[in-house]
């Protein structure tokens, strides 16, 4: 991949990256910083990407890692263990954007990638490096907590 080709791919995907980062933190400034960091890291290492057809999932993986790091910096995790104590009712009064923000990262990843960033279940599993079955389970759990009745055809 040449630098020009890389630039074209960035132009095509940057909005999608921004949406993902924005839904993580609900904040335009933080989202832009994370997209900047992601594009910079991708620029430093795109020459290592052997299969260009995986560019989108590869760069999204970088972004998800950056989002997780930002979470650790601010110690904002809710773990899946803590989730056992939290019922769907906890999320009901919250606006959808806030409810998504408050999901444990494992569920948030799935919801954002599947229903806002336009990835298939298979692509989502690949980005998150989890089995497709695990991705499907987490997807159901997240939608149940958010009281969001979306089917496969609703994924964007």
């Amino acid at each position: 991949m040449t630098k020009d080709q890389f630039a074209v791919r960035i132009e095509q995907i940057r909005k999608q990256l921004y949406k993902t980062a924005f839904l993580y933190f609900g904040n335009e400034t933080t989202a832009l910083d994370l997209v900047d960091e992601t594009i910079y890291k991708a620029l430093c290492s795109y020459h290592k990407l052997r299969q260009e057809e995986f560019f989108d999932t590869w760069i999204t993986r970088i972004l998800i890692n950056e989002c997780h790091k930002e979470y650790r910096r601010n110690k904002r995790f809710t773990s899946m263990d803590q989730l056992k104590e939290i019922a769907a009712e906890h999320f009901d009064p919250l606006p959808l954007k806030e409810a998504i923000e408050k999901l444990p990262k494992e569920l948030k990843d799935i919801v954002i990638l599947r229903y806002f960033s336009g990835y298939t279940l298979a692509e989502t599993a690949q980005i998150l490096k989890i089995p497709q079955g695990t991705a499907a389970t987490r997807q159901r759990k997240a939608l149940r907590l958010l009281r969001l009745e979306l089917g496969e055809e609703d994924a964007r």
Partner: protein, 453 residues
């Protein structure tokens, strides 16, 4: 609004244009260019006539006092990274120079000096209608013999003349005094590949180098500046981590303050660094030099013998207190770390440092290490400039670099990436010279009070 309606509304909201997003790729390109520039020129930045070890810090600028005189505001802006130099400008401790020369559409203008008994800071400007990125290679020469003066020189690089900003060169004379007159030779270097915005790789930007102009300026230093310095005897011994370190004396100059130390031959480790602050009369605090020479060693041993802080020269006080919060050590007998370039096996790397990867491009190998921050936001030198092969032959590391910060997945500590460049080396095993093996933070600072009336 039900959840589905919220979902659709959120999807629409996310479609709104974000103007700053359009330039995200440009920002990444500029940042990569800045980080790439640090590799090769960094080695060229420090030339030393004296055979002793340096510890040089370069970190982000911190705003300090600004000159009250309007036409010096640009000089004040140029020195915001240094409290000592900012105080010098504030107190009009400045020698104005107005020397200008032009060669091949490049003009060099020497404008100001901040000088004391041990250090010369030269402020100059480069302008050009023809070239965009210009680098300088300065040398200070004797007026009489044209030989290099006994000093260490460092400077920022990568001038963009269209920005027309004041740039700085610092010449530090160590234990010697600055002379009355100097000859400043400025070689102006241009890398034509750097101007090629269509390039697909940065790996060759330094391959072609042209010296497009050379200037010689004879500069006479005002003697009212060059005899400034105060010596304060101390001769007190501290016990740090079981090691005896004696603070022998302080030297206070307008450009910096030196804390001179000696160590006990029975110590089991060399002192390689200190984190500390100086407090005057329980009031003003002065930090170690953040941009420039932070410490010096000697040719006799790996240990550091002098540490530098921002200067208290322009303050009056009765007492000075040194508060030591951390020490960096190199254990005797553990001065080198082993790396197998084929297998990646390592031995005796400093605590927390790990080899990340070894990559190769043509005849150059890049070694990349995860290094834990000792102090947040500050890169510290892990390795010295030399390495050895299995037969003990000495080589020089061609380039160093640091890159951003990463979080180590299994720890809350922050790490950054430190890279070494080895060129034209065929061996499979190397021994890298270490700057330190371990460090210790003190929960309660170790303090020393020194009367300075």
């Amino acid at each position: 609004m039900n959840r589905i309606e919220e979902y659709l509304y959120l999807l629409d909201e996310l479609e709104k244009p974000i103007p700053k997003l359009d330039t995200s790729f440009d920002r990444a390109l500029k940042r990569k260019k800045r980080n790439t520039l640090i590799y090769r020129p960094l080695i060229g930045m420090i030339t030393s006539f004296l055979l002793f070890v340096f510890l040089v810090n370069f970190s982000a600028p911190v705003a300090h006092a600004c000159s009250q005189i309007p036409f010096l505001k640009e000089l004040a802006d140029a020195v915001t990274f240094s409290r000592s130099l900012s105080e010098a400008v504030k107190h009009d401790y400045i020698q104005e120079i107005n020397l200008k020369q032009t060669d091949d559409s490049v003009t060099a203008h020497i404008e100001y000096l901040i000088v004391d008994q041990k250090q010369i800071n030269i402020f100059y400007r480069l302008t050009s209608d023809r070239y965009h990125y210009l680098y300088v290679e300065p040398e200070l020469l004797s007026v009489d013999t044209e030989e290099k003066l006994p000093c260490s020189t460092y400077w920022n690089n990568g001038n963009e003349p269209t920005e027309n900003e004041l740039q700085q060169i610092t010449a530090d004379f160590g234990d010697n005094n600055v002379p009355d007159t100097i000859k400043l030779q400025l070689s102006i270097v241009h890398y034509p590949n750097m101007e090629d915005e269509t390039r697909t790789s940065d790996s060759n930007i330094f391959d072609i180098k042209n010296v497009i102009a050379k200037f010689h300026f004879t500069i006479t230093l005002d003697p009212s500046f060059t005899d400034k310095g105060k010596m304060i005897p101390v001769d007190q011994t501290l016990l740090l981590d079981g090691q005896k370190i004696t603070i022998t004396d302080l030297e206070i100059y307008p450009t910096h303050l030196r804390i001179n130390v000696s160590d006990d031959p029975k110590n089991t480790a060399w002192l390689k660094g200190l984190d500390y602050r100086i407090i005057l009369d329980d009031n003003e605090t002065f930090d170690p030099v953040k941009n420039g020479i932070a410490a010096t060693g000697s040719s006799d041993s790996p240990g550091m013998v002098s540490f530098r802080t921002e200067s208290s020269y322009f303050y009056t006080a009765k007492q000075l207190e040194i508060q030591i919060t951390e020490a960096l050590w190199l254990k005797k007998g553990m001065e080198k770390a082993y790396i197998n370039l084929e297998t990646g096996k390592t031995k005796d790397l400093p605590l927390g440092v790990a080899l990340n990867e070894i990559t190769e491009q043509e005849d150059t190998k890049w070694l990349s290490f995860h290094v834990p921050f000792i102090k947040e936001g500050h890169y510290h030198p892990v390795f010295a400039q030399t390495f050895y092969d299995i037969e003990g032959n000495e080589y020089t590391i061609e380039g160093f670099g640091t890159e951003g910060s990463i979080d180590h997945e299994s720890s809350d500590e922050k790490y950054y990436i430190h890279k070494l460049q080895l060129s034209d080396f065929d061996g499979t095993e190397i021994w890298l010279s270490l700057n330190y093996s371990h460090h210790r933070k003190y929960a309660t600072p170790i303090t020393l009070k020194i009367p300075i009336e």
